[in-house]
Amino acid sequence: MPTTSTTRTISVEINGTSYERVVPASLLLVHFLRDDLDLTGTHVGCDTGSCGACTVQLGGEAIKSCCMLAVQADGASITTVEGLASDEGELTPLQQSFHEHHALQCGYCTPGMLISATALLEKNPRPSEHEVKVALQGNICRCTGYWNIIEAVVAVGEEGTR
């Protein structure tokens, strides 16, 4: 029978880099990313699973890293907002579209919005406005009124059809 422990050695691949760390079982994934790995692009907003600022991709799927323990991510592959642009700083088409459509004001929700929209576009490269709204339902923005964000995501899909 496996033994129980208050810590666990976890191996995770984050933005293409492999990490092996000993973490407490009680550590939230978002704190592991921010505090242990200094990947502070992933934000803590509400810390209750409501706002989506902590969204990362886990095995390609958007998930809320404040609603998951770091130990649960053992063996997983994760993408955070730091993993989107190239090492040379070249933005992804989605990030470029956010820039062009003024899809952010304070920017606090932006990492989560970008990750949720990236996960959507990987599954559905040409989402409709409705599909974008559904995909971003778990991400709250208190500045933009959402329209510029939705337009930015839809525009990336339309760009791909040209």
Partner: protein, 284 residues
Amino acid sequence: MLLREVEYARPATIEEAIALLSEHDGARALAGGQTLVNVMKARAASPDVLVDLADLDELRTLSFSADQTALEIGAMVTNTMVISSSEVEVARPILAEVAATIADVQIRNRGTVGGNVCVNDPTNHYPPLLAALGATFTIRSASGERTVSAEEFFLGVYVTAVSEGELLTKISVPTRKPGTGDAMAGITLGAHGTYIASAVATVSPEGVRVALGCVSSVPVRATAMEERLEGSDLSEPSVRAAAAGLAASLDPPSDVHASAEYRGHLAEISAIRAVLQAAERAKG
């Protein structure tokens, strides 16, 4: 938020998971964690040991029973898996329709059917749905396996038939027979929020089943309404007449979102809407 220190194990087999759950007082099974992790933050639950079911692949299967009469949903099947399942689409599409209205994409990606029912929050979507569909629940322990009905499974707020040392392994939902229609209706907080009142109806040649959510600690079957609908033409006036008195028969809780009286009223309206929609779908 920092969580209280907790012991953790990730068993490789169901037997190991059950042994861990039996051996430790205060052990809790960890499925997707979309409820449990958040209640641990709020200190509303403080398990001493978390038994993570993540590696138990046999709990992540969604398939037909050997005799094809039921969909067998592993306890660790996520809402997203339910939404995209071709088996669900063929055999009981209401499951996918309802799963798609739970919370948001991120939570649907992690949240599991088994976790949702084992929490048995009275406002959750699956308890009334599975009660109306006549689902059964398979629970395993060191001494064997037992299968219980929804009436036997949901026991109270946050309390189910799964007791210490036991694990819910699968939920079996009868496949839809010809002439059957299912529908869920209700009033939520915001478009995809928590239900204030909900109702699920199933209309089939055998009759009408109606289960209400949010009005008690467990799903409530509207049996008097079901009986009045026997042989009914299921027209709107007939369904409204059959529902008359439903609200008065309930003893729902009162909270900031709705008084007991108003919640009862919403439950009655939801039941009418669910039956009418299910009847329309039963026509094919």
